[in-house]
Assembly symmetry: C2
Homo-oligomer: 415 residues x 2
């Protein structure tokens, strides 16, 4: 976990505000759940590997004193994603929520991962979810809203990859895998981009799947490029409604995208989580292979809580990755230019400098008061280095001298 | 800990944005620290009672396996306030931070308190702090910025109470208490508003202080109303600079307040935390006795980390209490009026409704798409009840019929 310095916070706050503004215009409403959930909830969530990375909270007082085994020492944990808490939230509050619910969640999640470049133990996720809509119109809205949010941040070279878990299941059955073990086929296949075909084939064999099925699967996925080709292969193994939904998403989103981003069917797209039941999608930026956003439909998760299934689908922006891209580009938060420094003499009455500050603030300026130090020249240099474009020095007699930072003009003409 | 429904989140987000805007205009920069800190840090922080309420995080793997006693089971904890993490942050990052640092922090903190009305185990704090300014100009800025932030939320009936821990120490010595035990006198005195004079006197006697000192203290505090009167009593027991600083704050802030809020010296103000070293202050709203914001100077806390003292002072808004007041007043988030519902036929092509939605969003509208249900009348009523002021129904032939919610006009004239 790490500290965020003011410049990074300003960049993050700006990005978050832009994402939120787009999502609000798309009719989503922000909701909030606590950081801490019951361990029982977190551990029964189909969260896969993430469940092993939960930070558990030590019981207190009496409850701790009577706990004998390490696994009884905790009954709460920090959330590892925003989907599991959302489903709990919906189950708990659905009578008081608009139906369908279009929810925005932005907040920190925690995973006890080994520290590595670009991975943090506390990181921010930014999700939108639609609960209560079975139609693929929900996926279409998620994709349009998320690509628009990313474009608002200046990320324009976007490719959306689309697949459907029901197609993947049909492919797995078609290739001769045991359908009951489709989950472990998906886990191996999910690594295709990272480890390559041979390693995936090896993993499939080593987890006890027939070598022949593995070969057929990799051959099929290497050959199939379009839904039509796949349809020819799988025939009646897939319900007609799956094809219709896939085609409606492809056609509608491609028309709406109007060249602003690309949408491509990709039969090799898997997504990690065990809970997906329908369309799944990811967004890639530029020519990076890793995704900056991902999501999918999880129609059977709410049912585990309230006894009746509620259709649900969501899209999550990898906020840290997006911020990483913006920082690499040298993005500067907008407000910086608006900052004004007033250097004053702290041995004098403060009235005049406070009144001037007040006037400037009423004009929307961000005003920093700085007591005049012993070395005014050095102090002014430091203020310029900190990015102040306007600096005023108040004299002991109440006069005001405005300084033009040397860097300001030169930077503009020299660029 | 609790879930926040969309309306409350919208109200909180709006309030937070207004507070942040005021603080930014006052030259403060937002910083962020992780939710999780080392337990060693949290436990040596002079945090008083709050240290007992820390949520501790269970060690993992090897480290847990080799922990024998309950007190060895955890080495991390959730932060219980934003001041302790700020000081750790400053010590860690000061070479990369502007000097002086004017920091904003907004974020959740956690305390394992017994649940009760208006108290939550996860709650939001909103702090500003100035690190590196010894002059009382820092306190003046904190008070002006915080009262302006609260006024921006519509909370105009504000009283700032001001005292100084150095005066309190002198009073305690003057009354005959053991100066080395001033801390426990402060703890008892802090309850004066809640439990009254007699109960405070009893607590002082029961914690081993001389009964005579307790009587003198309560008599003195009952009689003294102005700094001048107190100065007459304490004479040379207080350094001249303390009086000068107090008077400069009182005069400057009163002039700047220009009737927008009240500022009053209050010799009975104590503030709970052990780490205060100079001016302390609280804000009351209306005629409530409890405060909605509080803070003070803590010049010796940074020194514990970096070996040299750095002057520091901060002001914390009790965000949950402020939101409570806004909700009681029935405050409505601004954006609600901007929401538009488009009811469409999901069996038709989506192009026309998506294009209309896009046009409206480009005008800044928040647009919700709603698939037409079996009972349109009921559906329109529900949308009106959810607060939509504009609703369009798209016909199967692409026509658009705009509906004027019945409630809208009536509400405006009937109010």
């Amino acid at each position: 976990m790490r500290d965020l310095l003011p410049d990074e916070v300003a960049l993050r706050d700006g990005a978050m505000a832009q994402i939120l503004a787009v999502y609000r215009r798309h009719g989503f409403l922000r909701i909030e759940t606590p950081a801490v959930e019951s361990l029982r909830l977190l551990l029964r969530s189909d969260g896969g590997e993430n469940e092993k990375l939960i930070y558990k909270i030590l019981k207190r007082g009496e409850k701790l004193a009577t706990a004998d085994r390490p696994e009884d020492m905790a009954d709460l944990g920090l959330r590892f994603d925003l989907t599991v808490p959302l489903v709990r939230y919906y189950a708990h509050n659905h009578a008081r929520l608009p139906q369908p619910l279009k929810a925005i969640q932005i907040g920190p999640v925690w995973r006890a991962e080994r520290p590595q470049q670009g991975r943090y133990r506390q990181f921010t996720q930014c999700d939108i979810d639609v609960l209560g809509v079975a139609s693929e119109v929900a996926e279409i809205e998620l994709i349009l809203a998320t690509t628009e949010a990313l474009a608002a941040l200046g990320l324009k070279d976007l490719t959306v990859r689309l697949n459907d878990r029901r197609l993947l299941s049909a492919i797995v059955a078609h290739c001769g895998f045991d359908p009951a073990r489709a989950g472990s086929v998906f886990i191996a296949l999910d690594k295709l981009d990272k480890i390559g075909r041979d390693a995936v084939a090896t993993e499939l064999r080593e987890t006890g799947h027939p070598a022949e099925a593995a070969s057929r699967l990799l051959e099929l996925l290497g050959a199939v490029a379009t839904p039509a080709a796949l349809r020819g292969l799988l025939g009646r193994g897939v319900d007609e409604s799956v094809w219709r939904s896939l085609e409606r998403i492809l056609e509608t989103v491609t028309t709406q995208a109007a060249g602003r981003f690309r949408l491509a069917f990709d039969a090799t797209l898997v997504r990690g989580m065990g809970y997906y039941t329908g369309p799944i999608f990811e967004i890639q930026y530029g020519d990076a292979t890793s995704s900056i956003a991902g999501g999918g439909r999880y129609d059977r998760m709410v049912g585990k809580f309230i006894g009746r299934d509620v259709p649900a689908t969501g899209f999550s922006i990898g906020f840290e990755r997006v911020i990483g891209i913006l920082m690499e580009r040298g993005a500067v938060p907008e407000s910086e230019g608006a900052r004004v420094a007033l250097v004053f003499d702290d041995t004098m009455e403060l009235g005049p400098v406070l009144s001037l500050a007040r006037d400037l603030r009423e004009q929307g300026r961000q005003v920093v008061l700085e007591a005049r130090g012993k070395r005014l020249g050095k102090q002014l240099q430091d203020l310029e280095a900190r990015g102040f474009r306007r600096i005023a020095v108040m004299g002991a007699d109440g006069t005001i001298e405005w300084r033009e930072p040397r860097g300001a003009g030169a930077g503009e003409t020299g660029a």
